[in-house]
């Protein structure tokens, strides 16, 4: 009876797993079909001819390397800025009582409630008046601002959970505040730090609406927007669209899988506090 239950659990879990990746499997299958097979009616489950060349030709079809470069520059810069700004803020809020502390926490909460999508008109007008249309800076600054809230919140939950005594011991040993933060506190808050870093990077990597609105020129478009050129008014080049999508998706999935075991710890701190 017990082993029967275990088998049922295992099999249903595997089915669930398969369900969640099935759209991406279909993406992969479509990206490996030759153009002529895409429009077969009814569609085939697998390609008759496996067209691996789609993954090579796409680099010539669109400036894919440029799109990837933009995505990497924007996402990395935003992530570094978020961590540099959120770590001190989160640490100070977790450790000190000061005038304006509640107001600051409220500001962070409000930011969490706004999404770039909800403010797209305001952001667009601001970017135009700052003359930042078609620049990396526009996206970097907007992504930094919107990801600060989550990072600050999750990091301060972590900092607050580290016993004060550990830090005091370091001070007695003569370490400065900043050094204590760097050498003692940050290593202990590593799961939170990793979670905040990866969340920011992925949010920036996948953002669509702002980039779509602000970046009109292919030279500064990230890949989410760049692939849009395969979607024409009447025709979609599905095989390239999905080959490109997979090229964009696979690195971040690997990144995310890498921190999977930290994810639970990272989210726990946020949810118990």
């Amino acid at each position: 009876m017990k082993s029967f239950r275990k088998t049922t659990l295992t099999i249903s879990a595997w089915i669930v797993g398969l369900l969640f990746i099935s759209p991406y499997i279909e993406m992969l299958i479509t990206s490996l079909k030759p153009k002529s097979e895409i429009t077969n009616i009814p569609t085939t489950y697998l390609p008759k001819k496996w067209e691996f060349a789609n993954f090579i030709n796409i680099w010539k079809q669109i400036p894919l390397a440029t799109f990837l470069k933009s995505s990497i520059i924007v996402s990395l810069s935003a992530t570094v800025l978020v961590i540099l700004i959120a770590v001190p803020a989160a640490y100070y809020v977790a450790r000190n009582n000061f005038r304006g502390r509640n107001a600051f926490m409220f500001l962070v909460l409000i930011t969490q409630m706004f999404s770039p999508t909800a403010l797209v008109i305001g952001i667009f007008r601001e970017i135009v008046s700052f003359k930042l249309v078609n620049t990396y800076q526009a996206l970097i600054l907007v992504y930094t601002a919107f990801n600060l809230a989550f990072a600050t919140w999750i990091l301060s939950s972590f900092f607050a959970s580290i016993p004060m005594e550990i830090e005091e011991a370091a001070w007695i040993d003569g370490a400065s505040r900043v050094k204590t933060l760097r050498k003692v506190v940050l290593p202990l808050a590593l799961p939170g730090l990793v979670t905040a870093t990866i969340f920011t990077f992925i949010a920036a990597w996948n953002e669509f609406v702002i980039a779509f609105t602000v970046e009109g020129s292919p030279t500064h478009q990230p890949i989410t927007v760049g692939l849009d050129s395969f979607i024409g008014q009447y025709q979609v080049q599905w095989e390239y669209l999905f080959a490109g999508s997979l090229i964009a998706i696979i690195p971040v999935v690997i990144l995310f899988a890498f921190i999977e075991k930290w994810l639970v710890t990272g989210l726990t701190a946020g949810s118990v506090k």
């Binding site: 797993g17 000190n96 000061f98 008109i121 600054l141 994810l263 989210l267």
Partner: protein, 301 residues
């Protein structure tokens, strides 16, 4: 978002905090508050099609907005969308988290599968659904025909209600991974002995789940639901990539409608008034939810 209260500690003056929190305040003020205020003030202005401000118009943008015959349907759909997607996501995630918290062969792999839709771009995921649902070349029609459910290809995205149902399903698909992980995180804070004692085995143990485990998941669920409310409410790519709110405006929510008014009709003032209304609605949603939640929490005490 309640961080430990430090009320017993003496308050330091604000200026001392500036080296630490100053940069965060500057960036948030410039790129979150500024556009928010810009949006709010624009909603009381007349902006011409070239994007130039042509003076204040009082509440006329709002008056025009409320006479828009599409608005009631869009508002109703937004309500169905937010409540439906969040509720279904949570109802799927609760048993899923329970399942993935247990040990079985290949658990790590299944968990990796689950994070794929979370890590992947929502636009791209949505486009793959649009392709699978395509009336001519889509795999859904092929499978449904092979299984004998339908005799000929069906235009899944052709009729508004069915299309909207699919959009909600895709939105659930992309919200479930995050929600499940938040609940797994909640489960991991419950001591092993309690989980063991309340092991969900048969029909009778169902009751024990609701009485013992579910209340302990409350803090995790609270976070999961609030973040989901915000994300689902603002969810733009799912609808945009699959139907663009069409046919007509029959699958629009307030978010996609505001975008269309701004960038297709080029009526910025009008769009700003809808976006402002949008923010008020989300405030009400979150406020109501937190209120119901705190009332339930008190009842349980």
């Amino acid at each position: 978002m309640a961080i430990n209260t430090l009320n017993h500690v003496k308050k330091k003056p604000f200026y001392q905090s500036l080296p630490w929190i100053g940069p965060a305040i500057v960036v948030i003020a410039l790129f979150v508050l500024w556009p928010a205020i810009e949006m709010f003030t624009t909603s009381f202005r007349y902006v011409n099609q070239a994007g130039q401000i042509r003076g204040w118009t009082g509440i006329s943008n709002y008056q025009t907005l409320f006479t828009n015959s599409d608005l009631p349907g869009v508002l109703l759909r937004t309500g169905v969308w937010v409540i439906g997607v969040v509720l279904i996501s949570v109802l799927i995630s609760l048993p899923l988290a329970q399942m993935l918290h247990q040990k079985f062969v290949g658990r790590r792999i299944v968990r990796y599968c689950l994070i794929v839709p979370w890590a992947a771009s929502v636009v791209m995921t949505a486009i793959s659904w649009r392709w699978m649902l395509d009336s001519y070349y889509g795999i859904f029609n092929r499978i449904a025909q092979d299984l004998g459910f339908i005799n000929q290809p069906y235009a899944w995205l052709g009729s508004p209600n069915i299309a909207f149902g699919w959009l909600m399903l895709v939105a659930v698909f992309v919200s479930v991974p995050f929600t499940t992980y938040v609940i797994i995180a909640g489960l991991s804070t419950i001591p092993e002995e309690i989980l063991e004692a309340a092991k969900v085995d048969g029909a009778n143990d169902w009751k024990r789940y609701w009485e013992i485990i579910f209340p302990l998941l409350r803090p995790a669920l609270l976070i999961g639901i609030v973040i989901n409310l915000i994300n689902v409410f603002n969810s733009f790519p799912v609808i945009w990539a699959i139907t663009q709110g069409g046919p007509g405006s029959s699958t629009d929510t307030t978010t996609t409608m505001a975008y269309k008014i701004a960038f297709k009709t080029s009526d910025i003032g009008q769009s700003a008034s809808l976006a402002t209304l949008n923010f008020l609605i989300i405030l009400v949603f979150i406020g109501l939810f937190l209120r119901v939640n705190s009332r339930n929490a008190q009842k349980n005490k």
